[in-house]
Symmetry: C2
Subunit: 320 residues, 2 copies
């Protein structure tokens, strides 16, 4: 029996955080490549990656990492993609595939595609999987299992290149879908970007309030200790704090690069929140109850889809 050929001879990873280090781990475990070259800006990240052993070489300069690669995964923050692509373009092999893991796709195409030479194939990708942890220690090979991956190739993209990236993510355990980049950005604005924005906001609001509540407590005759917000956060707030602990630089770039879709969804949310605020102020019991019944039904629909096997049965990984 012949030994199977790896999907790729050499993978280059630009960025060795949660995504990059998880990709490396899954590529090693599934034997999807013979060699992995990693690039990270900071020396401590490079040292850690070598120490953990999920890369075969580390490079400070992205062009050095990609020179022999048949696939390059951009895994840094999306705001850096343009400059990185410009830097690696002259070093890319003819026939190499460039792909990425960014949470926004139209802006990534705008920033990456113009720099790529002819004969290099660009397959924009978004594995919809993550945790609130960052850095090379936070990655793990099962990050992608049972989750969805979206690819948004341009119509003129080489079909073999798309197929190879699809196979990579399928080996990682993902269900892969092809989607229009603008449509991806609108769907993710709803399912991911808006929820993160709201979680960041409420945790910021509460963090400001906590200090004030503690001052009030000092004048109180009762036996309350400090840190009440944390103590009573199991009442709903704690879920938001986990989401709002996600990578600050990554999310800064997401909001700046999917601005129009995020602002549109935020506008809708704000209108709905104002309507609910008014219902509370005027004591409109039926308005409240009917919304709450509708949202409960929506959740049931999601659970039924999941039980029907239409999508992932796993919850977001919680490692704390």
């Amino acid at each position: 029996m012949n030994e199977e050929t790896s999907l790729f001879q050499q993978i280059a990873l630009i960025g060795l955080g949660l995504q990059g280090s998880s990709i490396a781990r899954v590529a090693k475990r599934e034997k999807l490549t013979d060699r992995i070259a990693g690039c990270a800006r900071t020396k401590s990240t490079r040292d850690k990656a070598l120490e953990l052993g999920f890369v075969d070489s580390v490079h400070e300069n992205p062009a050095d990492a990609v020179s022999d690669a048949d696939v390059v995964f951009l895994c840094s923050h999306i705001g850096s993609y343009g400059a990185i692509t410009e830097a690696i373009a002259p070093a890319l092999k003819k026939g190499a595939i460039v792909t990425d893991v960014g949470s926004v796709k139209r802006a990534v195409i705008r920033d990456v595609a113009p720099h790529l030479p002819d004969g290099v194939h660009f397959v924009p990708g978004h594995p919809v999987a993550g945790t609130e942890h960052s850095g090379p220690e936070s990655g793990f090979a099962d990050l992608f299992v049972g989750r969805h991956c979206v690819l948004t190739p341009q119509p003129d993209c080489n079909p073999d290149a798309v197929e190879k990236i699809r196979q990579f993510w399928q080996h990682a355990g993902m269900e892969v879908e092809i989607m229009d980049a603008d449509h991806h950005d609108r769907v993710l604005a709803v399912t991911s970007h808006l929820p993160h924005l709201i979680a960041y906001t409420i945790v910021g609001t509460v963090s400001d309030l906590e200090e004030q509540l503690e001052r009030e407590t000092a004048d109180d005759k009762t036996s309350i200790k400090t840190n009440e917000v944390a103590r009573y956060s199991a009442g709903g707030f704690r879920d938001f704090t986990r989401i709002a602990a996600s990578d600050p630089e990554m999310w800064r770039d997401v909001f700046l690069n999917n601005r129009d879709a995020v602002l549109e969804m935020l506008g809708r949310f704000s209108e709905d929140l104002a309507a609910l605020q008014r219902a509370i102020r005027w004591g409109e019991a039926e308005t409240l109850e009917s919304l709450f019944r509708r949202t409960r039904e929506f959740r049931r629909g999601i659970i039924e889809m999941r039980q029907a096997g239409t999508f992932s049965t796993t919850e977001p990984n919680e490692k704390e």
Copy 2:
């Protein structure tokens, strides 16, 4: 060795949903009472409670349930407390304790206290524990383990009555604190009521949007299936759907009965959201990143508190 005396001879539970049925289960398991009488409005709930065996008798009329009780737990929606208390008042034993599990405390004192006869002790309580499930099947004895319970007795309340309720919740595995009712309502507005309100809003917004996205998809050339929102909800949205699946009637009453504190917190949140919206529109990268760093720190503070054993090590129960 003498057999220990139960904490209570007879417990009456008004309401046999998640809270009432969990209280019954823990009281039975910990042998905190000799007998449990349950009251529920609907026949199917009463039948189910008898079938599940966590009560010794069921009653349609709350006055029938309380007549021999030395403690009455109000476990229905808080909007019903006033009428229930009025109905049970003539049937209450001298020396009986009335307590509750409501998520708001000032309004409960307003609605309950005036109806109680002399010699009956009122100890308002709030076990901060729950799931998004409702009904007599949803209860379980471990619901309260490792969580906090707040008691908000009036200054003139009988200390022995407060102590007995404290002991009950300690037997259930809770850490019990005494707090001023207004202060409770402000703290919970932040840690629980505002997060629920926001989760309900965003799930409502997204539920409206889903239909629109599906219409767009129909005109699309790509191979997208329906129900995309559910499929990509692991990106953050799914956590919100769980919170927004909580009991509609219960939460309607919470918002209507903690109106001022909720509206105040909502006002602060809306201001902060508007500021963030502006930062996205104007591309203020540093404003975004600095907030996101602050919220990540806040989460770390919560995790450190937990690791230091300052509060519960358990996450909200997720049964789906």
